[in-house]
């Protein structure tokens, strides 16, 4: 009981420390409307920092990320839509800058790859299942019968020739 209580307390305390870091490193910015503030956050989450490649603009503390946050903010204030801001960044930094890259020749494999793999797996699996069921339906029942029949006949007639004639066992 005591251990559980300590753990809970530790968890409660650590929660206080977790919250500030999870808010990211974004400068305090005041937008005129809540809507703009929301769009700003959305864009920063989707735009990737070019310098520190596994962070978005919201997380990154790199100087270039700071500059791009400032630019994003001013573009929003100029009245640009989310799509326009993304195009703006795309023109300068390429597909790489979007965590959800647009569909084009270069990114086609990235988008379609998983579905192609899935299709291949489904086709292979279906074939296997089909082959197996055919085998199960045909082989065990008939061949077992066949085998016993041949064995019995062998015992009765002492003729080893019949064993080779497994395909058509009728006399």
């Amino acid at each position: 009981m005591n251990i559980r209580l300590t753990l809970l307390t530790a968890l409660a305390i650590s929660a206080f420390f977790i919250t500030p870091t999870s808010l990211g490193v974004v400068e305090v910015n005041q937008f005129e409307t809540v809507e703009e503030e929301k769009r700003y956050k959305e864009l920063l989450e989707e735009l990737r920092c070019p310098k520190c490649q596994n962070q978005n603009l919201l997380d990154s503390d790199a100087p270039i990320a700071k500059d791009l946050r400032r630019r994003t903010r001013s573009l929003i204030e100029e009245g640009k839509s989310n799509e326009e801001v993304k195009s703006y960044m795309l023109d300068r930094y390429g597909d790489f800058v979007l965590y959800k890259p647009r569909f084009n020749a270069a990114t086609a494999l990235l988008w379609l790859g998983p579905f192609i793999l899935l299709a291949i797996v489904v086709i292979v699996l279906l074939r296997r299942i089909k082959n197996k069921t055919e085998e199960e339906l045909l082989k065990p029942s008939q061949s077992d019968d066949e085998a016993t029949r041949i064995k019995v006949r062998n015992l009765m007639s002492n003729s080893p020739d019949l064993t080779q004639d497994s395909g058509d066992a009728k006399p």
Partner: protein, 188 residues
Amino acid sequence: MNSKFLLPLIAFLLMAVLLGFGLTQNPQELPSALIGKPIPKFSQPILKTSETHDEQDLFTPDELLGKRWILNVWASWCPSCRYEHPLFNEIGNRTSIPLVGLNYKDAEQNAVQWLAERGNPYDRIPTDMSGDVGIDLGLYGAPETYVIDEQGRVLYRHAGPIDAELIEREIAPFFPELQALFVQQQGS
């Protein structure tokens, strides 16, 4: 029966080759969105060194139309710039290729001192204290090096420091003068 073992082996080998290839790739080296496109228009004040004459002077890429030139983005706070600087000194002193050094997010005094200590190979030094030109160039940081053609289009871009091998392999093909210089060096 054999295929039962062969198939996973083939899959494993394919995977190994693919991942091995991935290891040779540098994820920091990204294609520039600017290649083949005109260099963004900008008009920036010139760094005030002892060699600058006109204090009101501005640099725009248009003034080099008709020439093939090199743009190097540098800063006094950037350690890799220190590493690559002797090569730009060489290019600046031994060729007639126009060399522009964009001073990126720097403090004027530091930049001037840095050049005084290490040599100034640049024909023009526009400044970008805010980083706005950097964003238009799709810059990741300093140093970066661009080759701009006679029509003002970006032919080549390299993010990160350059070395002699990279000049010989990737930049010299754009400039006969560089080719002569670096092939000569190799021979001696």
